[in-house]
């Protein structure tokens, strides 16, 4: 019990350190919050306007069951933020420690290696939550407050999804340690993950084989449940099954990610290549 408390303290200290570093570069911090607005929301909304009939997104009504393009893409942005917490926060943090040569000394402390990833993911999730709150406030300002009470369902959804995001953190951490220069891989994997989760469009437009991969991602179900609650869109699966899939895929991702991390850690210790970058 005492050990668990100590690991918890260590995870929180790591998260605070990461948040402190993030806060030092204020312009970058502001940009990381508003970037999804100009990179995803605005181009998507305007592409939607190109297909609109009488100002109505009648095409989206056919594929997703709603004409509310802005709300639809807005919720997609939130999923994008959440996924980035697992992908980029852990990848950046490990890469920075590798480059600075501090990973080896950090791993010599009595803290468990897994705790480092937990701390990095916690900082990523805190940043994602803050960014989400800011984006929701912008959403309330731009589109009215109607969506806000219906977003209350996001709290349990995001809580379950966090387990899967931690799994992504472990997986990406393992890949960065093995590849060392994994920027392209992390960037591409993050993009594919977000796209296949249906952040920008309903996944029913994807080819059938690709759609099955989408069903294996927790963010697909998290996002769909949020959209059903907030916008009354057509669910991808019956709701109880969708909740079950959210839990199962999140736990599976955590198990797979942790196994990859532990095996990578073992390999690096045996080979003595931790300090290389």
């Amino acid at each position: 019990m005492n050990e668990l408390r100590n690991e918890g303290r260590a995870a929180w200290a790591i998260a605070r350190k990461e948040l402190q570093i993030f806060g030092r570069y204020r312009l970058n911090a502001v940009n990381s919050v508003i970037q999804p607005l100009y990179q995803t929301l605005i181009p998507g909304v305007l592409l939607g306007a190109t297909f609109a009939i009488g100002g109505q997104a009648v095409g989206l009504a056919e594929t997703a069951g709603t004409t509310d393009i802005v709300g639809y893409l807005f919720l997609g942005m939130l999923a994008l933020n959440l996924a980035s917490a697992g992908f980029w926060r852990v990848a950046f943090s490990i890469k920075m420690e590798l480059d600075a040569g501090t990973l080896e000394p950090a791993w010599l402390t009595p803290t468990r290696r897994e705790t480092f990833v937990i701390g990095m993911t916690i900082s990523g999730l805190i940043i994602a939550v803050v960014a989400t709150v800011v984006l929701v406030l912008i959403g309330i300002w731009l589109f009215g407050a109607g969506i806000a009470p219906r977003l209350a369902v996001a709290v349990p959804i995001l809580t379950v999804s966090s387990v899967g995001i931690l799994g992504i953190g472990y997986l990406i951490g393992a890949i960065v340690l093995r590849m060392r220069d994994a920027n392209f891989f992390v960037d591409a994997a993050d993009f594919i993950f977000v796209v296949l989760s249906g952040a920008a469009f309903p996944i029913i437009v994807l080819p059938e084989l690709v759609r099955w991969i989408s069903y294996l991602l927790p963010t697909t179900h998290a996002l769909d449940l949020m959209r059903v609650a907030a916008l009354d869109t057509r669910p991808l699966l019956p709701l109880p099954l969708e909740w079950l899939m959210l839990v199962l895929t999140s736990v599976a991702l955590l198990i797979v990610g942790r196994a990859a991390w532990l095996s990578t850690e073992h390999r690096l210790r045996v080979r003595g290549t931790l300090g290389q970058h």
Partner: protein
């Protein structure tokens, strides 16, 4: 400037290009990225367009009326290819100066008798190779994936549009390089400007869907003309004569921006040299 100076600068220019190309070759992972992104990024928007179209004839007709083409994939691939080229140019000169600054080699380079333009634009030639590569990847993807064939005549016309657009875009890149010398870090600024271009210049939409004020803003930015003209020659089969007005505006913007960039870069360099800030980062 004598003929010998000019010849010396050209040799330095070629040397800078070769150096950058050699560094690029050392990181084969970047080649993968230049295959992945020109296909993956527009493809995501093609799926999004399918969702917005909903397979209906009236929505497809609305798209054709607003964009002047029925080629949804072509429209989006050309727009995003230009975006990627623009990104390379915005990051390019500034990033290479910043890299030299961090490596501690910028001061040494500035002590050589080579022109500052060589330092600034030497690496840009290798980036031009990437730009051509992006358009080739996009052309092949459109042909194989969507059956949109781009003929040699259209390709030559597109090359003409790119040549007219080069001064304006590289001048914007040079302005960013001046900011790097002055302030050191430009990541957030580049992201912001790229975001502005994405939001108003019509990478994924025709600018007619923008509100009036945003259309006015879009028409004051060079990428708007570049994207529209590339789409016109590649997708609508327009001859150069039909877009000559746009090209004249683009060339004019290029001239003004180039003068502004040279002025800004000289002033910043003077400031950095007087203050001894060239090697600081």
């Amino acid at each position: 400037m004598t003929l010998a100076d000019l010849r010396g600068d050209l040799r330095a220019f070629w040397a800078a290009t070769r150096k950058e190309w050699r560094i690029l070759r050392r990181y084969p992972g970047s080649f993968l990225s230049f295959i992945f992104w020109p296909i993956a990024l527009p493809l995501a928007f093609v799926f999004q367009a399918q969702a917005f179209s909903g397979g209906r004839a009236d929505t497809a007709a609305a798209f054709a009326e607003r964009t002047g083409t029925t080629e949804v994939a072509g429209f989006l691939f050309v727009g995003w290819a230009t975006y990627m080229w623009l990104s390379i140019i915005l990051w390019g000169p500034g990033t290479s100066l910043r890299t030299e600054q961090i490596r501690g080699s910028l001061e040494a380079i500035f002590m050589t008798p080579a022109s500052r333009l060589v330092v600034l634009f030497g690496p840009a030639v290798s980036q031009l190779i990437w730009a051509i590569w992006i358009f080739v990847v996009v052309g092949v993807a459109l042909w194989l994936g969507f059956g949109v064939a781009i003929g040699p005549v259209e390709a030559v016309r597109a090359l003409g549009v790119i040549v007219v657009g080069v001064p304006a875009l590289y001048a914007i890149g040079a302005l960013f390089a001046a900011v790097v010398l002055r302030f050191g870090e430009v990541h957030a600024l580049v992201q912001g400007v790229r975001g502005l271009f994405t939001a108003v210049c019509g990478m994924s939409f025709p600018i007619v869907v923008l509100p009036d004020w945003a259309q006015t803003l879009a028409l004051s930015l060079p990428p708007t003309y570049l994207i529209a003209d590339l789409r016109a020659v590649l997708l609508s089969g327009s001859e150069i004569g039909r877009i000559i007005g746009d090209l004249a505006v683009l060339a004019g913007m290029g001239a003004i921006l180039a003068i502004a960039a040279v002025f800004a870069f000289k002033r910043t360099e003077q400031h950095a040299r007087r203050g001894g800030r060239l090697a600081q980062y």
